[in-house]
């Protein structure tokens, strides 16, 4: 399943949730998995979806760390 996080496409196992996409994104961008707990996850329309939201093929999500 391919999902896009902040314009970076990551490939994940079937059944992955929003936190898994962000973890892969953070590691891929060499930002460190620990950042996951500091940020918030949103869908493409800007709704917050939390860490455990189910994902579907092609979904676009955004990960933001509050300033």
């Amino acid at each position: 399943m391919k999902v896009t996080v902040n314009r970076t496409t990551v490939e994940l196992f079937e059944g992955a949730r929003s936190q898994h996409a962000v973890l892969r994104y953070l590691v891929h961008r060499r930002l460190g998995a620990a950042l996951l707990r500091r940020g918030r996850i949103f869908d493409a329309q800007g709704h917050e979806i939390g860490l455990d939201a189910p994902l579907r093929e092609g979904q676009i999500i955004k990960f933001k760390i509050p300033k």
């Binding site: 994940l12 196992f13 898994h20 189910p54």
Partner: protein, 479 residues
């Protein structure tokens, strides 16, 4: 003069009659509670307050009431605490979420029999063998207004909700839109029509185009935080994020049998200042769950290292999933000693507390080798992963002692590890996420937590002894 008075009286009477036709329906809705039982006293207090104002308050859930909290999921009858608490709060109805099926048809049927609220789900066929008898629709009389609810659960490409396929054996589902459309007659029967949906926000928006006869979609599944209601194609859609952080209070105004107003507001549940004391006591009772002290196996010798406990954990995942190899990031092993004696449910939950899913992949030897190194690199403060089915000789770079210079793998029985052969590999969802290495098969969740797999292993083993177990051997390169 007399004529004028009569006219005024007629206008007043007409006005009274007209205002008598304007009524409000109040709905308190939640979705994806995922057994967050510690927030149920606050939800109960919110329901109490709203009921004080609106005695006919309708309380509904858009599914996924269970799964996500061991206090609930590991109860002797799994998910029984949530059903009791929903009964106490006075829920009228829920639809099915994909996680309502996590205990299979029989588990669901058992819970349905204990529930004081309806399960409304049009696209789940009744399964009398399990006692699974959902209603496709239900009409409620709310403050003299007829409110019709039709329910639906998401269906994946296998034709079942997202749970382990074994959980859906004996159950059958029909396509969402096609099935919901069969009940469009509710529009003629009722003043207000609601779709109680567990299909996700995007699908709710899409389906709203085809459902002009629906007034309100109370959604779930995607954990989408909608700030109040959103109008899409003339249908209001509501949903909140998961684990009972919030709930939605929706007001539907009906005049002369027609919906003339819809508004929704989000209520913060987690931060609500009041708690229902009786519900709080019941939550406390469930929190002292004796099921956590249940003995799964006997440890005949003490566990004395992360390595020994990691060997046990990964053996559990390998054996119980029928895999050739299993591994975990070392940070996933949360303690390093356990005295000989009973190995309880509580011990497992302390050892593996993250609610990770079990993930299975089919990897070539080379892909597995790359994945182990990638897991180490992403979890570098904890060291090389713990493994089962193989032995690893890890050689770190002398100049950079955290960097792996070489990794030699043999099968656990000493036979050759083949870089070209395909192996079935089990791991946790965290490792499968952080391991950013190339592989053809991204894997799949088995829809079982890794902790529940460990429990099953311990129960099957009865007695265990991991004295001296060691499968990872580390050294530093000479150059």
């Amino acid at each position: 003069m007399r004529k004028l008075l009569l006219t005024l009286a007629a206008i007043c009477l007409f006005g009274i009659a007209a205002s008598a036709e304007r009524k409000e329906v109040h709905i308190l809705s939640v979705n994806d509670m995922h057994a967050k039982i510690e927030n149920m006293p606050q939800l109960a207090a919110i329901a109490d307050s709203l009921r004080g104002l609106y005695p006919d308050l309708l309380i509904v859930s858009a599914g996924d009431n269970r799964t996500g909290e061991p206090l609930n999921d590991l109860y002797e009858t799994p998910a029984y605490p949530m059903v009791v608490l929903m009964n106490m709060i006075g829920f009228h109805a829920t639809t099915m979420g994909n996680h309502e099926f996590d205990a299979g048809g029989k588990g669901l049927g058992d819970l349905m029999r204990m529930s004081g609220f309806s399960y409304i789900c049009a696209n789940l066929e009744p399964a009398p063998a399990f006692g699974v008898a959902p209603r496709p629709t239900q009409v409620f009389d709310v403050n003299g207004v007829s409110v019709g609810i039709v329910g639906a659960v998401e269906i994946n490409e296998r034709g079942t909700p997202d749970t382990h396929p074994d959980n859906c054996v004996g159950l059958s589902f029909t396509p969402v839109l096609e099935t919901v459309q069969k009940y469009r007659g509710l529009r003629d029967e009722c003043d207000v029509v609601i779709l109680l949906s567990h299909i996700g926000y995007d699908a709710d928006v899409e389906i709203s185009r085809e459902l002009p006869w629906v007034d309100l979609i109370i959604g779930g599944h995607s954990h989408t935080a909608i700030d109040g209601g959103e109008m899409h194609n003339g249908v209001m859609i509501t949903q909140v994020t998961n684990r009972l952080e919030n709930a939605t209070h929706t007001t539907v105004t009906v005049e002369n049998g027609k919906v003339v107003g819809r508004k929704a507001e989000v209520i913060n549940v987690a931060g609500y200042p009041k708690k229902n004391k009786v519900v709080e006591e019941v939550v406390r009772y469930f929190s002292d769950n004796p099921a956590f002290q249940r003995v799964l196996a006997t440890l005949t010798a003490p566990m004395t290292s992360y390595e020994e406990l990691g060997c046990m954990m990964t053996d559990a995942w390998r054996v119980e999933t029928g895999s050739d190899v299993a591994f975990t990031n070392t940070g996933g092993v949360r303690y390093d000693t356990l005295p000989a004696g009973p190995f309880t449910v509580s011990d497992v939950l302390r050892l593996d507390p993250f609610n990770n899913d079990t993930v299975q992949l089919e990897l070539t030897g080379q892909e597995l080798k790359n994945m182990l190194i990638a897991t180490h690199d992403a979890d570098i403060e904890y060291g090389f992963p713990k493994v089962s089915g193989i032995k690893c000789e890890v050689i770190f770079d002398k100049k950079n002692p955290k960097k792996i210079k070489d990794l030699k793998i043999t099968m656990e029985d000493g036979s050759k590890f083949d870089l070209k052969k395909t192996y079935k590999v089990a791991t946790n969802s965290y490792s499968a996420s952080i391991a950013d290495s190339p592989r053809k098969d991204p894997g799949r969740s088995l829809n079982r937590t890794t902790a529940s797999v460990i429990q099953a292993y311990l129960e099957h083993q009865g007695k265990i002894d991991y004295t001296g177990a060691c499968r990872v051997f580390e050294s530093v390169s000479k150059r």
